[in-house]
């Protein structure tokens, strides 16, 4: 490192000249060589930062190890049958998490589908300057577009909208749960009742909505995942090289022909990565689901039926769990960890690759 510094200092002729006058300058306290104490302090500080950087890796390893160690006794006892069992009864010490795995995947995929459609629309709206163009058109119609006071308004409003969408992610999950109980469920109850009456023969509407259930849980989940998807996809769309953008419009494409045929395919990897990251968030989301999903141990295709998820099972059972049940819950935590870890690592990798490819094209 010392050698490197010397090389850097000499790479610049001005610096070289400074170094030559180093002795003279040192009288004023500038441009002198570091003292032995400073060198020692430097070494110590750098080792500390290195150790702390390593400790981040260590922390991940420790988390994996700790959860694995906690789950180990239950793994020995229940084995693979734990993953396929359908019963969770602490009194008889029979534990199985198939309904929870099913419910986790069902709510996550449904919520993710809704969030993808909405999030992608928001990302396009924010990245293609629709709002700015609209506000400008309105101002122009009013004859105010070029007044100094209104000149910056379109861009400002767009930045404001971006912040507001990001605020969706800032609201704590437990508040969304509260909102879901008192707003979403009462709102969708009549609609759900109508669907069940008219379309009850379809498996998706075969049960009445008694209150909490898959549909309200997925709707709230979609709102919580949406900011992740829209923010990452917006970045991907903004990274589409300008030459592609201009070429598409130069060929006479309408705005939406360009979006569908050029921008989205170019940003596809990044958008896909954002969806995978959103999936990871949906799988691990706990409180809102624990409050809205109904926590009942059933496997049903119906959107209106209550269900359970892995994270909700952990949150709801743990505070009152006895020793044996805690062991089984740790096993469930390990399963959740394995699923989210794979999904997240995949998403991170895809986004990184997409970013690298597009940066290279620039």
């Amino acid at each position: 490192m010392r050698v490197q510094l010397a090389v850097r200092a000499h790479a610049n002729p001005d610096d070289g000249a400074d170094a030559a006058h180093g002795v003279a300058a040192s009288e004023h306290g500038v441009g002198r060589a570091p003292t032995a104490r400073e060198v020692a302090a430097d070494r110590a500080f750098r080792s500390v930062t290195l150790a702390l950087a390593w400790s981040v890796i260590l922390l991940v390893v420790l988390i994996l190890g700790e959860i694995f160690a906690q789950a180990l006794p239950a793994m020995r006892q229940y084995g693979v049958a734990f993953l396929t069992g359908r019963e969770w009864d602490p009194n008889r010490a029979t534990f199985g998490i198939l309904p929870q795995i099913y419910g986790t995947l069902y709510t996550s995929i449904l919520g993710l589908t809704i969030a993808t459609v909405l999030g992608l629309a928001v990302a396009i709206f924010l990245s293609e300057g629709f709002l700015a163009a609209g506000v400008f058109a309105v101002l122009k119609a009013a004859g105010l577009a070029y007044r100094p006071r209104f000149e910056a308004l379109p861009e400002r409003l767009e930045a404001l909208l971006r912040i507001v969408v990001e605020l969706l992610a800032a609201i704590p999950s437990v508040v969304y749960g509260l909102w879901g109980i008192f707003v979403v469920i009462p709102t969708i109850r009549p609609i759900a009742g109508w669907l069940h009456d008219r379309l009850g023969w379809m498996p998706w509407f075969s049960t009445p909505l008694s209150g909490p259930g898959i549909l309200p849980a997925s709707l709230v989940l979609a709102i919580m995942v949406l900011p992740t998807i829209s923010a990452v996809s917006r970045d991907a769309l903004a990274r589409v090289p300008p030459k592609l953008r201009e070429a598409a419009f130069g060929l006479g494409a309408t705005r939406w022909e360009a979006i569908l045929a050029v921008f989205i395919p170019t940003a596809a990897t990044g958008i896909f990565g954002s969806i995978v990251l959103g999936f990871g968030r949906a799988l691990g989301e706990t409180m809102a689901l624990a409050m809205l999903v109904g926590n009942s141990n059933v496997i049903s295709a119906s959107l209106l039926s209550p269900a359970d998820t892995l994270a909700a099972l952990l949150a709801n059972s743990f505070p009152e769990a006895g020793k044996i049940e805690v062991g089984a819950l740790m096993y469930a935590a390990l399963v959740l960890l394995a699923i989210t870890l794979v999904v997240n690592a995949l998403g991170t990798w895809i986004v990184q690759r997409a970013t690298a490819t597009l940066e290279g094209q620039r």
Binding site: V56, E66, F125, I171, V174, G284, M330, L341, T348
Partner: protein, 309 residues
């Protein structure tokens, strides 16, 4: 594609054809889709404003000084508040901040300045991203195994450890970005004057990157203050103040910390499913206080980031 000269005599295209008219299916499609995305965007903002509106209406009506300073009421009891939950939340977020902020910033210094492209840095960055995606409840399971199982009791420090796991990657990744954004000429000027790398970091990089680092810290605090799931595994909840002697809300001895500790987020969760109106109203009031705090910290952080840019 040969360079055939354009025929001069080719008639100019019909001006009318070039005009954007909604009678063309292509233009109509584009027009409809544009409006549709705008509508969807507005639609996604409805939940945000619905949440805020409801919090103000339902939470605001039961908000008072007593609510902020009294203990939670038992079932069927009138009045009461969540003073102990406020103290508990502040305490646990403070513990988490004390752990995660120094660790995150110093590790970020290593990533951004000392060895940005080394193998360690790449591995650390990946580890931090993995931590970002860690479900919050698993941070609670981890702290349960590490602290609760070892000390034998649910406690505020256990909650702090769980929250610090969630704060660390946010602090680390934003601090790294902020340090990288410091202009290279400032760093090089310091090196040219004979500063050691440590002096460069402490005198130049960290002071210059401070607004960006603070943004990350604030976002992390906002996240931690709203977390519920990890606290269910670590701090649980308590109906009482932290200490028996007056003033009761301050822990006096280290032993006072080693009890289950209340937090606002867990209170909202517990009371939201309560059949008693008074407790439900308290949950709304607590949610209002929580969201106001979280949004304020968040917006401060973003304002700091904007000033830097």
């Amino acid at each position: 594609m040969n360079a055939r000269p354009l025929a001069r005599e080719a008639a100019l295209p019909d001006q009318g054809e070039l005009e954007r008219s909604l009678r063309h299916p292509r233009a109509l499609f584009s027009f409809v889709m544009s409006w549709l995305t705008g509508l969807v965007t507005v639609l996604t903002l409805v939940p945000l404003f619905s949440v805020l509106w409801l919090l103000v209406v339902r939470g605001g009506s039961s908000l008072s000084l007593a609510v902020l300073s009294e203990l939670p009421p038992a079932a069927l009891m009138p009045g009461g508040g969540f003073g102990n939950a406020i103290v508990g939340t502040i305490l646990m977020v403070a513990i988490a901040t004390a752990i995660s902020v120094p660790m995150g910033i110093l590790a970020a210094v290593f990533l951004a300045d000392f060895a940005p492209d080394g193998r360690t840095a790449i591995a650390v960055r990946f580890a931090a991203k993995v931590l970002t995606g860690l479900p919050s409840i698993l941070a609670g399971v981890f702290a349960y195994g590490l602290v609760v199982a070892t000390t034998g009791t649910f406690s505020a420090p256990a909650g702090g450890v769980a929250l610090s796991v969630l704060m660390l990657p946010i602090v680390l990744l934003t601090a790294e970005e902020a340090i990288r954004a410091v202009p290279a000429r400032m760093r090089e000027a310091a090196i040219g004057m004979g500063a050691t790398p440590t002096q460069v970091v402490l005198r130049i990089l960290l002071p210059t990157a401070l607004p960006g680092i603070l943004t990350g810290v604030m976002l992390a605090i906002a996240r931690a203050a709203g977390e519920t799931a990890p606290l269910l595994f670590t701090a649980l909840f308590s109906e009482y103040w932290m200490s028996d002697t007056s003033p009761e809300f301050l822990p006096k001895a280290p032993g006072d910390l080693m009890h289950p500790t209340a937090s606002r987020a867990v209170l909202i969760y517990n009371f939201s499913s309560s059949p008693f109106d008074n407790q439900i109203e308290l949950a709304w009031a607590a949610a209002l206080v929580l969201v106001v705090l979280v949004l304020a910290v968040n917006l401060c952080g973003q304002a700091l980031a904007r000033r830097r840019a």
